[in-house]
């Protein structure tokens, strides 16, 4: 009996998506682990920081 050792395109995609959704669920729903912004200034600052971080270090 042949044993399938390779995952297909759809299986891989579904597994990755489920893992990603699970990660988001744990982070946002279970631990409420996110920043809260109440002013446009702080938002601009954070976006700018992330942009510079990506430019300087790469993701």
């Amino acid at each position: 009996m042949e044993i399938k050792t390779r995952l297909g395109f759809f299986s891989t995609l579904v597994i990755l998506l489920v893992l990603s959704v699970l990660a988001a669920f744990i982070r946002y729903i279970v631990f409420s682990d996110f920043e809260v912004y109440d002013s446009e200034e702080s938002i601009s600052e954070s976006v700018s920081d992330q942009f510079h971080e990506v430019i300087e270090k790469g993701i």
Partner: protein, 563 residues
């Protein structure tokens, strides 16, 4: 479980029911655009999948519609739910699913057009494009945080959102290039579905991004809601493509989807608290709509099944017609072969009978001479019948050969009359005349001498046969208005009934009263004559005032074209 309570943030957001129903949703358009798209997509996808579980196309279609439905559900939660944790989570889902949707749409297009799964290399590229989104959506690059400035209930999107736009552009370009390349290669019948799906895909990408872009720029998310209608357009085009494979019927599904969507939309009104007073009206409307909808679906089903039945009958008829045409061809070949075999013994019979009659075989008794004379006449008749059959089969098989040359029509007619002199003399009760009008006319024309001779002989012979007494007059002239030679043979014979005239030149057609005068006719002579005249770019027709009132046959031919 840690959750940020909305009252901590100090905003007066309304609670939600089942995540999606709340008064935070500012316009009913949001519900219409979302629920209509969600139901249409999921309903269609599920039905296609259940109808064709083994079909790869159907599974792929279901994957697309499910992804889209999840996206729509997440999006409506963002409109309705006040919980920041929920908003963070479902916003992430939308970011995650958007590029997946684009890639699956492209995948569907490729599979549909090529009729096979995409290559491993293409799959790797597609997965590669999706990996950054999948890996980073739950990180700060997906969403930086929750934004409740001015109590807006939004998130601050990270850089990944720009990657989503980038994927959208890549897929749009890929789709365009693929469609243009394939358009040249696919067969004529598949060009239309290819164009429709490609356009549907591009339109969907455009409308989807248009909704996001307009919303972001103008802060007016109402206009953006129309973007969601792009998905039903894509689904419509995809459905058309699948219907081409005859996997399910669009009309039934469409009606069911619309009816279901309307019912759910009406039911959803019950969850809105403001309509307390009109709840009874809504319930009555739902009941009425269910009844009307059910009857509508039934009506469409019946019509579709009848159409399919007619289509099947038409297909069967087409197959039967092909088979009959083939049988007809085989029959013509057989008749051609059989008549060829008959010709040789007939020639021998005619030849020897002629030799005996002319006395080359020695003197014979008068009684024997009479018998041989009858044999000779009968073989002549049989030879003429065989020739008719041979000509018909040649016409049917398209193998009738013509040797066109320049001939003098007047001379040809005179020759035919000379050859038929024994028959003319035999018709003692018939006065036969021939007149060529405008004696100075140039009667040259381009024709196959033998074939045209056959036509003229056939017409004169017919007139003589079917005129027991009276007159047969043959005229030849030039119609200067039409610039055509007119060969006319007019008799005072048995005539033709008005209902027979239109069918006189059809195969096996004989006038109803013909058998009384001549029992040997096959009903092929005039058919062959017409085919020959038509091959000479001429016309032939018959006129008669009715049975017993004589008939006129007219042949028109083009004069010789001088260079």
């Amino acid at each position: 479980m840690m959750q940020i309570a909305q009252d901590v943030l100090g905003c007066a957001w309304e609670p939600s029911y089942f995540l999606v129903f709340s008064e935070n949703v500012f316009a009913s358009l949001v519900y219409y655009s979302h629920f209509f798209s969600l139901l249409a997509a999921f309903g269609l996808g599920l039905f296609v999948y259940l109808s064709n579980r083994s079909s790869f196309m159907a599974r792929l279609f279901f994957a697309i519609t499910t992804t889209f439905s999840l996206w729509v559900f997440s999006d409506v939660v963002l409109w309705a739910d006040p919980n920041p944790s929920h908003i963070m989570f479902f916003w992430t889902i939308t970011i995650l699913l958007e590029p997946v949707l684009y890639i699956l749409g492209l995948y569907f297009l490729m599979v549909y057009v090529t009729g096979m799964d995409v290559s491993v290399k293409t799959k790797h590229v597609m997965l590669g494009i999706l990996v950054p989104t999948i890996a980073l959506s739950a990180t700060k690059f997906g969403i930086l945080g929750f934004n409740y400035t001015n109590c807006d209930r939004e998130v601050v999107e990270g850089l990944l959102v720009y990657y989503g736009y980038f994927v959208e552009i890549i897929v749009a370009i890929w789709t365009t290039i693929f469609a243009i390349r394939q358009y040249k290669n696919v067969g004529k019948g598949r060009k239309r579905p290819l164009v429709l799906i490609s356009l549907g895909m591009l339109l969907f990408l455009f409308m989807f991004s248009w909704g996001n872009i307009v919303g972001t720029i103008s802060e007016d998310w109402t206009i953006g809601q129309y973007g969601l209608f792009g998905m039903p357009i894509l689904l419509g085009f995809m459905t058309y493509a699948i219907v081409k494979f005859r996997t399910f019927n669009i009309k039934i599904i469409g009606t069911q989807a619309i009816v279901s969507a309307q019912i759910v939309l009406l039911l959803s009104l019950l969850f809105l608290r403001q309509i307390e007073n009109v709840r009874v009206v809504v319930i009555l409307t739902v009941i009425t709509f269910i009844i009307i909808g059910w009857s509508l679906v039934r009506g469409v089903k019946r019509e579709v099944y009848q159409r399919e039945k007619i289509q099947k009958l038409a297909d069967d008829l087409k197959k039967a017609n092909i088979r009959l045409t083939e049988l007809d061809r085989q029959k013509s070949e057989f008749v051609s072969f059989a008549t060829h075999q008959l010709r040789s013994p007939l020639t021998a019979m005619k030849g020897y009978a002629s030799l005996i009659l002319e006395g080359d075989m020695g003197a014979i008794a008068p009684q024997a001479k009479d018998a041989v004379s009858r044999i000779f006449e009968s073989t002549n008749t049989l030879a003429a019948i065989v020739d008719d059959y041979l000509n018909v089969t040649r016409i049917e098989l398209g193998s009738m050969k013509y040797a066109f040359e320049t001939i003098d029509l007047k001379t040809l007619v005179e020759d035919v009359i000379g050859e038929l002199k024994p028959n003319i003399d035999k018709s003692v009760n018939v006065k036969f005349t021939f007149e060529a009008e405008n004696s100075g006319t140039d009667y040259r024309t381009t024709a196959d001498r033998d074939k045209l001779k056959q036509v003229i002989a056939n017409l004169i012979d017919n007139s003589l046969k079917y005129t027991p007494k009276g007159s047969v007059s043959v005229t030849l002239g030039l119609d200067r208005l039409k610039h055509k030679f007119v060969f006319k043979i007019q008799d005072t014979g048995i005539g033709v009934a008005a209902e027979t005239l239109p069918h006189l030149f059809a195969k096996w057609s004989r006038a109803g009263n013909a058998n009384k005068t001549n029992i040997r006719g096959t009903g092929l002579g005039l058919f062959v004559a017409k085919e020959i005249v038509v091959a000479h770019h001429g016309t032939i027709h018959a006129e008669s005032a009715g049975e017993g009132k004589g008939s006129t046959f007219v042949v028109e031919l083009e004069p010789f074209a001088k260079a």
